[in-house]
Amino acid sequence: MPIIALLIFTFATALIGLFIPIRYGNRFAFISSLIVFIYSLYLFCTFPITADFQYVVDYSWIQSLGIHFKVGMDGISVLLVMLTTFLTPLIIFSVRKSEPRPRAFYSLLLFMEMALIGVFVSMDGFLFYIFWEIALIPIYFICLLWGGKDRVRITLKFFIYTLTGSLFMLVGLIYLYLHTPGEHSFDIQALYTAGKSLSAHAQCILFWFFFLAFGIKMPIFPLHTWQPDTYSDAPTQGTMMLSGIMLKMGIYGLIRWMIPMLPVGLSQNAQYVMWLSIAGVLYAGIIAFTRKDMKRLLAYSSISHVGLIAAGIFAFNGQGLQGGIIQMLSHGINVVGLFFVVDIIQSRTGTRDIASLGGIRLKAPYLATVFAIIMLGAVALPLTDGFPGEFLLISGVFKFENIMGAVVGLTIIIGAVYMFRMYQRTILGETSLATENFTDLTAGEKAVLIPIVIMVILIGVCPNLFLKVSEPAILKLLGGI
Amino acid sequence: MTLYLFLILGFFAVLSALMVVFSKNPIHSILYLVLTFFAIAGEYVLLNAQFLAIVNIIVYAGAIMVLFLFVVMLLNLNHETEPHKSMLRKLIAVIAAGLLMVVLVGSLKGADTMAIQPFSHNAGLIENLGKVLFDQFLLPFEVSAVLFLAAMVGAVMLGKKDIK
């Protein structure tokens, strides 16, 4: 029931938000998302740490097809729901007052929050797919309506790209559904059973179908080319949503749906997909070296980070999975923070071009400090949030195969190179023409960034707080195969 | 005997059908078409469907062909206004149609070895037909009234000049 409450509440606020007087639009959206956050925090704090799904609700939806409205949360879901509900208020709060058509913007954000929560709690394949796709619509419009110059082409590409994957996933889901024992059903357990009973050949083919969907969403090299364009052209809040939460959908899909359903498919293809992921880590990282546009640089860094997460998850051992989960949280938090910083810089100077910036620290020490801390999280310095995840992931991959671990480990060097380069050229040095009149963080901006900074350190120092929540679910997952 | 009759009528039908297509003057085409219909009506008689044969002549050769003639006259098409297609396209048309024929004939030939005894059935007699038509086929018969109504309304609607 709590889950239904979450979904309905977010949906209702999204609707109501359309009709709220513009003056109160921001406050309304922020407060309602804050309520959602507080409620989910309550759920999180009282969450019983077992491997079973909690708060399960099961309604029959389309009887004739065995489709149910079945939702529930286990340790993995609850973390991602938390991530969503934590970031959404921040993202909403970070919207600038000057944004045109604010009500639609907030409503789309809230609507998206609903869809994302839905994705993370679905226990029915069909429902999952519906939420998966629904989440795409608001972000599409956010990018289309408030995006940059080349948005038409880019958003369409983004949409078709992601839909390509999803449609293949749909085919895969239907195929699995038709192999569920007895009365066909989309229930997650039934799909697990169905998937496992398939021949190795069928599993491999389905594996690639699903991989396409999740791989594009994340994105994994070489399915990533929609991403840098979209990130750099979308409005910052859209980028935050995309990178902070939405790409976790792909990773979550891997963990929740793909791997448990197709264990043989995984074991036969893990080699290839892991090498792809690792190639992505290096490839995107190296490309990030010379990016001039800050958003683009972060976009590539995101690909690089996600490649690592994917590799860890495909390695499919305790470290890899747990690392993946904690890294999902920390990556979400870091990347939202970083994109917001970029947004601040852009709104002050009108440019994201690294070369024309510099010396911001002289004018805005707070910004510089906050940026530095979040960046350190991104480069996985111990005691920041990036470290536990990255360490676990690398060791997970290493455990799977030494060479891979060693190669993927290069990320800690590469990441440092591009991040520090960017930091140095934008924040340090002498002021440039663009940054001469730079002003430091406003109270509102601090209100967004400080929670992020706190989370960066909190996860770094006490990762156990989160790891222990997902542990039973992960163990069950590992044991189930 | 009947076989020869069949063949002769068939020959006429085919020949005049070809003339319909190849005649340059539309009026000639219409007349050849009438000839074809007569030949086909002859075949009907051969099959002991006298009523249909008569109807065929009345409806087709009579009504429809007059309609055609009427339109041709109305549109003043009795002279050769039709710009002919290029040889290539005509050739393609002939080939395509020939192809279709070959394929159809090929697919149907040897499908079965049934034979018909002409003049030996009474199914085509008017009384039988009447029974079937107004008993079994009453509903289609009535529904075809709607068809005619629709065609009539349509033709009138298209034909009449709008009062502007």
Binding site: I62, S64, I174 | S107, D112, L139, V146, L147, A150, D162
Partner: protein, 455 residues
């Protein structure tokens, strides 16, 4: 049967209205009549009746009739304004009502004679309607092309019927089915089946017999195009499926591969051709061809769920198309252009039109939570269930191309800066139609059981 009587009577009344100067009251009367027809049809649900062995009003027929009546009802609401400016309103209404008779016959036939007559009644009316904008050469051309090709295709359809008759000695579906199952003369029967498939494929615009569709759709008055894309298409597929599922399923092994290749071709041509269209109307025409391809997948994978798939798909597709065409109608009348540029930047001044158009496009593109998604889902499900996974993969690729052109409309609506902020006036009837179609699109998308539950 009642349905037929009511519809025919309404048609005749419409004709007389011209004579008795009853035009004003005609429109409400027709709506009431349609509602009554719907009521009497619905009453026959679960009471299958056979009339003279010619019509079988089973649940399939009842539900498709109801669907057609609902669509027709909405269509009348949409088309009213258009016809009021014409002098021959009553003729139009009468023709539509007659054609509805044909459509109802097509979904309930139990005899090839009825099928043939049904198709012809529907076609003849629509030939005329397509050409009904008499002074417009486009409309003339459209009607002429439709007529010429339609009657040509009728020839093949008839040939097919004849061959079937030759093999089975009957026009009655039950007898045909029975006689075919004894396996006699399969060869000729198969030729008959293929020719019937070609004839019906023409009516439902499957490639390579689709060529008429884009031209005719574009040239015909928008309201008539709407009618063709909705009622005619629904009836055509209902008839197609009814015939093939009742009579020819034993021969499925022989014709599914042909049909599946036709589907592939249709999906390809329909979707790919739509990409470069500037005219929204023509784009929708191609999209209509493409959708025929998706629906035909359900026929290829003939099995129990196919019925539901076809019902759901045709019905929801009709509703979404109705919505899209209505907006196109409104916009093109306002801007004087059917070009996609007419839609540019209308989002700010016309939130209702923009929103409903977006929903319609999403539905046609098959994006959840709209009905279009579930329709595609159900078709895919049917096909995979029947082992036609490869066909589904083709359809998936086609759907991706589809996104491309449907989204161009959405982009035009939202993206381009507003050139003029004049809100387009939307009449109350149109408004009602749009709201109803949009709500139905979303409602059926979320609760497909509302449609599926009946079959």
């Amino acid at each position: 049967m009642n349905t037929l009587i009511i519809l025919s009577a309404l048609g005749v009344v419409a004709l007389f209205a011209e004579i008795f100067r009853f035009r004003k009251g005609l429109f409400p009367l027709i709506l009431i009549g349609l509602a009554a027809a719907f009521f009497f049809t619905a009453k026959e649900y679960n009471h299958p009746q056979v009339f003279f062995g010619m019509m079988n009003f089973d649940n399939y027929a009842v539900i498709f009739s109801c669907a057609i009546l609902i669509i027709a009802f909405l269509w009348f609401m949409m088309a009213k304004n258009y016809f009021l400016q014409e002098t021959s309103v009553t003729d139009h209404f009468a023709l539509i009502l007659f054609s509805l008779v044909g459509a109802v016959v097509m979904v309930s036939f139990n005899n090839l004679t009825m099928l043939f007559l049904g198709i012809e009644i529907l076609s003849v009316s629509v030939y005329v309607l397509a050409a009904s904008d008499k002074t417009n050469v486009m409309s003339n051309e459209s009607g002429f092309k439709y007529f010429l090709m339609g009657s040509f295709a009728t020839g093949f359809l008839l040939f097919g019927i004849t061959l079937i008759y030759g093999v089975t000695g009957s026009f009655d579906l039950t007898t045909i089915q029975h006689n075919l199952s004894t396996g006699r003369e399969t060869y000729m029967a198969l030729a008959g089946v293929l020719l019937l498939m070609i004839g019906l494929g023409f009516k439902s615009s499957l490639a390579p017999f689709h060529f008429w569709a884009p031209d005719v759709y574009e040239g015909a008055p928008t309201t008539v195009t709407t009618y063709m894309a909705t009622v005619v298409k629904t009836a055509a597929f209902a008839a197609f499926y009814r015939l093939f599922s009742l009579c020819f399923w034993q021969l499925a092994a022989h014709w599914t591969d042909v049909l599946s290749w036709m589907v592939v071709l249709t999906l390809f041509i329909g979707n790919v051709s739509a990409v470069r269209q500037r005219s929204v109307k023509r784009m929708l025409a191609y999209s209509s061809v493409a959708h025929a391809g998706y629906i035909a997948i359900a026929i290829v994978a003939m099995s129990v769920p196919s019925t539901c798939a076809i019902l759901y798909y045709t019905f929801t597709y009709s509703i979404s198309s109705l919505s899209a065409f209505t907006i196109l109608f409104i916009v093109s009348r306002h801007k004087g252009s059917k070009d996609i540029s007419a839609f540019e930047g209308m989002s700010k001044a016309n939130p209702l039109l923009s929103f409903t158009m977006t929903v319609a496009m999403l539905s046609l593109a098959g994006i959840p939570p709209t009905a279009g998604f579930f329709a595609k889902y159900y078709v895919f499900y049917t096909a995979i269930n029947h082992g036609f996974t490869w066909l589904v993969l083709v359809a998936v690729l086609a759907a991706l191309v589809g996104i491309y052109y449907y989204f161009r409309v959405i982009i035009a609506i939202y993206f381009k800066p507003e050139q003029q902020l004049v809100p387009i006036k939307v009449g109350p009837l149109h408004r009602t139609v749009l709201i109803i179609t949009t709500i139905l699109t979303l409602l059926f998308g979320l609760f497909p059981n509302l449609v599926l539950g009946w079959l």
